[in-house]
Subunit: 360 residues, 2 copies
């Protein structure tokens, strides 16, 4: 199969976007978009949340743009028009709004900022949240100039690669399509992705132990080696998985949200709070905020010892890549533990996790 | 229990050494020794094998000494009088001979070099090899000025901490004992040890993928954060485990060597060679050298998929810490896979590993 087997038109239409372009990776799409903006308006900055996947920041850096990290709101773990507004200036080329873990980042609230900055690309990243709806019932990802979808076994929609959707105010897709050099690797190197994850996790662990740690120099010296991971040519290989993912999206969304709701109802502890997701959301993982980093760490260990999935490697990108302190991101990321909500997750595993958290 | 429950006198006597000093960690002993030499002779260099635990190099660096890495011999994976001799100069303060994985590094061959350099501390590190014997039937660790023992669940002798033995030409133990500041943490922080291992493993993995990688800057910027791991005050906590370890050493040695011998006899492949250990050796892990790095990686993956232990994270320290190329260490470390020989390892796991290697 190839990209032509994927109904890109329908995918764009669903989100009221005018065009869709497939890429070998979600971050390749961002790289191409950022580079197109850098070519058009000159080098400058990309604003993204301090809590976000490092590949978004790398895409900006490889396009010659400087990542500027906006702090998040402690309730949603997403950035706000206020934290972004402080960073917007004449050098701003793009703003990437990430619906982290499935939480609605409320893109509509950025309308005013977007209107005031017509040459800035406003992007919604819905990799974690595809299928979710806003307060007004609109699908997430239909509000801004560009919407990024990405697919992987570990995401909401399985498969590989990503799709960039183009809205009314967007560039001509041909101007973005032509950016990735044909000489770039066609397949994202799996080993390199694992390496990046391992390096970032090991630095995050070190940061958890030594709070006065300066990690920027270490990561900066490694940055050149992940280019082939971010700048990939070609499109989506497993279009069948992606098609199936869209077809089953509403069923998957409901099961994920039901699993999330079990954690939400079950976790009754003063030391642990499930981050609220609205009815109608897609949940990627269920984020639990613990009262202290120590409790988050200890509970992760207990959950894993019981054979349950739990992830606590969240890590403010400003500490890895540089920039001013982001107090809320730094504080909350050290207290997040994410729980799995995958459709095939056995009910008893959810109950076991809840029991461990309530006792911890 | 405390150190006084440990018969240090007997441990020293066994190896014909004149004194024994316990430390909270093996690397704390090295730090104290290096610092004592730096105090006496001024800053300078420590020569150690390019294939070695990074904590030996860190101990030197924290004592203000520069690690110089000697290349290894492709047959033994240990350094030789020739590779060390090239590096010895007026700044040399210490030479650390490591009996890697249990292979006899032939300390006797360094006698001439030692004689010619009376102000240099010659140290044997026998953490992997304690209980093993030389070609002449002498116990390893009785040849040089100092011998380092260290204890951990994953080593030959369980327990914690380390012991530095002092030979004829050694400093007064009191001059080394007084080095570690009382303000240093008394327990080596377990999390920090895991962090160091994870950082080094993630950098090693990155090196395996991107051969032109420059890792020195990254590791250098992280070096300050591992001080508390290397410079620990106090002594051995679980002296009972260490006493038991010495008591059962010959039995454990024989079982480990028997397990090693099964691999040695069983691996019959042109693409994989078990590194030879002499009869009478203690084997820490059974090192297998594959014909190519790719084969070593692929076989590690196959062994792990079958639920078998295998480790391939060996990594030349010159690439992490700096220094001239060490071609043999760089080549061989990328092709080593280590297999477990623990006394309780089931025979069928050994047979299964052999079958996978022969088929790989």
């Amino acid at each position: 199969m190839n990209d032509s087997d994927l109904d890109l038109r329908t995918i764009a239409d669903r989100l009221s976007m005018k065009a869709a372009l497939p890429f070998a990776r979600g971050s390749s799409a961002l790289f191409a978009l950022f580079q197109a903006f850098a070519n058009r308006h000159g080098t400058g900055e990309v604003i993204l949340p301090a809590l976000c996947c490092e590949s978004v920041a790398l895409a900006a850096m490889y396009a010659g743009l400087k990542p500027r990290f906006a702090d998040v709101c402690g309730d949603t773990l997403c950035m706000t028009p206020e934290t972004v507004g402080q960073l917007v200036n004449d050098s701003t080329r793009a703003v990437v709004i990430v619906h982290l873990f499935g939480v609605d980042a409320n893109a509509a609230a950025f309308r005013e900022l977007r209107r005031a900055n017509p040459t800035v690309a406003f992007v919604e990243d819905i990799a974690h949240a595809v299928g979710g709806r806003t307060l007004c019932g609109k699908l997430l990802g239909s509000e801004m100039d560009y919407t990024l979808l990405s697919f992987a076994e570990s995401k909401i929609i399985a498969g590989d690669g990503g799709i960039l959707l183009f809205g009314e105010r967007a560039l001509d897709p041909d101007d973005v399509r032509s950016i990735i050099p044909a000489s770039a690797p066609t397949k994202p190197p799996v080993v390199l992705a694992m390496n990046l994850r391992n390096v970032v996790h090991s630095l995050a662990d070190l940061w958890r132990t030594s709070n006065d740690l300066e990690l920027v120099t270490a990561f900066e010296s490694l940055t050149p080696y992940f280019r082939d991971l971010i700048i990939c040519s070609g499109g989506i290989s497993d279009t069948e998985a992606v098609s199936d993912g869209f077809e089953n999206l509403e069923d998957v969304r409901m099961i994920r949200y039901a699993n999330y709701s079990l954690y939400r109802a079950g976790v009754q502890a003063t030391h642990a709070k499930v981050v609220p997701l609205r009815e109608g959301s897609t949940c990627w993982r269920c984020p639990v905020l613990f009262s202290t980093p120590q409790r988050a760490r200890d509970t992760t260990t207990k959950l894993r010892s019981a054979g349950l999935h739990a992830s606590n490697h969240y890590f403010p990108l400003n500490l890895l890549i540089g920039g001013e302190p982001k107090p809320i991101a730094e504080d909350s990321s050290s207290r997040i533990v994410n729980l799995w909500v995958e459709p095939r997750l056995p009910r008893n595993e959810i109950d076991a996790a809840i029991a461990i958290i309530n006792r911890s």
